[in-house]
């Protein structure tokens, strides 16, 4: 089964559509969205509508911290995310908000454990930036002995964590388009990057494909019309910083 893993779409419909088209051309058989469907970006309504439709067709959709914030935005905004949460809340219908609110935190299936942030206290949204964070997450997922692949988003960077000769976890920076063997006799953890808000200086959207027949994980970078996404952000009256971020990829 070839499963497309997409995370941190952040209301960027242009990036989402580009990745879905790319994945379709890679003949994927399923989709999993690992949270943060909304927040920051200018098109929360169309993104949620598209995902509700994909969920009906069988896609796995998980909840992220920005989805939670969009349902119940904080009164006083302290961060850019909180600032856009209120705006996002207003853009969504009651039905869409209820759907977001009902999304699960995690999903388990065979060797897979999917989560937005860390498998360790998923609702606390711990960041997996390094080997320590990855170790915490992988240890928590290990309570289910069949789990070998822990995949998440949240940090907007593509990374693969694996075990060296000894027990230590090591971090690996993947090359886009290269199929990396991730055989189930080892434990693997990956942060699959962000579809809608790349932050590594490259404007291309990020996602990954997991192939559970060949046991391969392939990271992808997909060019999309980020000028259009930035233009939508400006015309929605969102802070200029967010539009620039899409144009610079950081």
């Amino acid at each position: 089964m070839r499963l497309a893993l997409l995370s941190d779409i952040h209301s960027n419909i242009q990036a989402l559509e580009a990745c879905l088209l790319h994945a379709e051309n890679q003949s994927v058989q399923g989709y999993a969205f690992l949270g943060d469907l909304v927040g920051y970006g200018a098109n929360p309504g169309p993104v949620v509508e598209r995902l509700m439709q994909l969920a009906q067709e069988g896609a796995i959709v998980l909840k992220g911290n920005h989805d939670e914030m969009a349902v119940r935005p904080p009164e006083a905004a302290r961060t850019m995310g909180e600032l856009t949460a209120k705006w996002t809340h207003q853009q969504l219908s009651d039905e869409q908000r209820a759907w977001l609110d009902a999304l699960p935190f995690t999903h388990r299936q065979d060797t897979l454990f999917l989560v937005h942030a860390s498998a360790h206290q998923p609702e606390a949204w711990h960041y997996v930036y390094d080997e320590n964070g990855a170790q915490e997450s992988i240890s928590a997922a290990a309570q289910f002995p069949e789990v070998r692949h822990v995949f998440g988003g949240h940090v907007h960077h593509q990374a693969l964590y694996f075990r060296g000769v000894h027990a230590d976890l090591m971090k690996f920076a993947p090359q886009p388009g290269v199929a990396i063997p991730v055989a189930p006799h080892r434990q693997w953890l990956s942060t699959i990057g962000s579809v809608g808000q790349p932050r590594d200086g490259n404007t291309d959207a990020m996602y990954a494909i997991f192939d559970s027949d060949k046991w391969q994980l392939t990271f992808h970078r997909v060019p999309y019309d980020y000028y259009a996404a930035a233009a939508d952000s400006r015309s929605a009256g969102l802070p200029e910083y967010l539009a620039l971020r899409l144009e610079k990829g950081r």
Binding site: G164, V165, D168, M170, V178, A183, H185
Partner: protein, 473 residues
């Protein structure tokens, strides 16, 4: 796992006889299909490890690494990958059976090789190593038993069990940074767990060249970590001391490969191959002439320096070697305008880049009818290149004799792993331009490397650009 024997079936392959039973793996002849079926055209072998999969078992990890890397590598310098078995169920690796002799077999035969044979074998090894480095892999366990020379003279690298590929997680890496390699051939930095430096392979090539030249190992075959560390400060005995007929240029090459500091070795295997195929162009230093080895002070300094060695993650392999290009500049020898020659020189200088170690090969092609002017042409070429002289890169000069200018340039570029070729867009003549305008086009279309076509600027423009260049500086 069931016991394997002749006639056993694994995933559609039928085992033939066992051709090698090692401590870590056995190797069988194998073919596709059921017993008694047709024999395939390409002879295949199957490597089967003696241990089942599981995290931590170093031998099976090394097998996993080899399967991964071999599958990713292409070309005639590695065995062609055919299939790999499920590590958890029945690990195996099926690949092309390469015919030829390993260098270990050559050494075991005991025949003394001529200097020309050593240089030819060395260049073949270096080309093979460069081909692997260009694909982002470093071998890290080169030794005579792992280098096979095909009947056509091309070298093939075997056993990628300790190798490292920049596109895959390095399963053998670990925080403790233990040395991984074979003691006699291991590079000093590998002792500190550095994996992914292509120059580690050049050290091993130096050890092999030393063996081929002298019949001895430069640092013996130490059994302890302490013994292996001696190569950080000790010099091997100069090859010329062991065998008089070794020329200084060959000793220069071998000892440059064996420098304890990676930065003092050849920056790429292509540059090593270049020297081995162009021995008359080597700049010989004290290293090549020395018969007594370095003194106590140098060794002491190295020892102090060695204590500061530490692990650094390596950048992507192909990037490391592309920063030290072999730049080839094709210079026409007749009917060529001064301003064309000037523009060519400027372009060549820019292409050498900023990192020390790059090499400039200045090439001219003359027709067989012009053979008498070969010497004169060489001198003119050297004169042309004088302004490009620098201590950070080496230059060499080559007058090729051929009827077909474009083909001669192309052949030279592929034989020497040239990274960038610089030539005039309308080079080779003003009068005969109509006839020869096809040379740059043919070269650009068929070159195995980047081609820079230089357009001549007219005198007035050249002066203008000079002035601009100065004001920009």
């Amino acid at each position: 796992m069931t016991a394997l024997q002749e006639g056993s079936q694994i995933d559609g392959f039928t085992l033939g006889s066992c051709i090698h039973a090692g401590s870590r793996a056995s190797i069988y002849e194998v073919r596709r299909g059921p017993p008694g079926g047709a024999v395939s055209h390409v002879p295949l072998i199957m490597k089967v490890p003696h241990q089942a999969a599981g995290e931590g078992a170093a031998d099976i990890v090394s097998f996993e690494v080899e399967s991964q890397i071999l599958e990713a590598l292409r070309g005639l310098h590695v065995p062609h990958f055919v299939a790999a078995g499920d590590l958890a169920r029945q690990p195996y690796l099926v690949m092309e059976r390469v015919h030829g002799h390993t260098l270990q077999q050559t050494l075991d035969a005991g025949a003394s090789l001529t200097v020309e044979e050593i240089a030819r074998l060395g260049a073949a090894m270096a080309h093979a190593v460069h081909a692997v480095h260009q694909q982002n892999a470093v071998h890290l366990d080169l030794k005579p038993a792992n280098i096979l020379v095909r009947d056509d003279g091309n070298a093939v690298l075997l056993d990628f069990g300790l190798s490292c590929h920049a596109h895959f997680p390095d399963l053998l890496a670990e925080q403790a940074h233990r040395a991984l390699g074979t003691p006699a051939w291991i590079a000093p930095e590998q002792l500190f767990g550095v994996r992914g430096d292509p120059r580690s392979d050049l050290f091993a090539l130096g050890v092999i060249l030393y063996q081929l030249s002298t019949g001895e190992l430069p640092f013996g075959a130490p059994r302890t970590d302490k013994g292996m560390r001696e190569r950080l400060w000790m010099d091997p005995r100069p090859p010329r001391k062991l065998r008089k007929e070794i020329p200084p240029w060959l000793q220069e090459i071998i000892l440059r490969c064996l420098e304890p500091e990676a930065a003092k070795r050849y920056p790429s295997a292509a540059l090593l191959a270049f020297d081995l195929t162009n021995p008359d162009q080597i700049r010989i230093t004290a290293r090549g002439n020395n018969l007594s080895g370095t003194g106590f002070i140098t060794r002491f300094r190295r020892r102090l320096k060695a204590s500061g060695f530490h692990y650094l993650p390596s950048p992507v392999v192909s990037q490391q070697i592309s920063e030290v290009p072999i730049v080839m500049v094709a210079v026409a020898h007749q009917d060529v305008r001064e301003d064309t020659l000037y523009s060519l020189r400027q372009a060549a200088a820019r292409s050498l880049g900023t990192r020390p170690g790059a090499r400039l090969a200045c090439v001219t092609v003359i027709s067989p009818a012009e053979a008498s002017i070969q010497r004169r042409t060489l001198t003119a070429l050297q004169l042309w290149a004088t302004p490009l002289e620098s201590s950070t890169h080496q230059m060499s000069f080559h007058v090729l004799v051929s009827h077909d200018v474009a083909q001669a340039l192309l052949d030279y570029a592929s034989a020497n792993d040239v990274s960038v070729m610089v030539l005039g867009a309308a080079t080779h003549g003003v009068k005969t331009q109509r006839l020869f305008a096809t040379v740059p086009i043919k070269v650009a279309m068929n070159a195995p490397c980047t081609v820079i076509l230089v357009k001549q600027t007219h005198d007035s423009e050249r002066n203008k650009s000079n002035a601009l260049g100065e004001s920009n500086a």
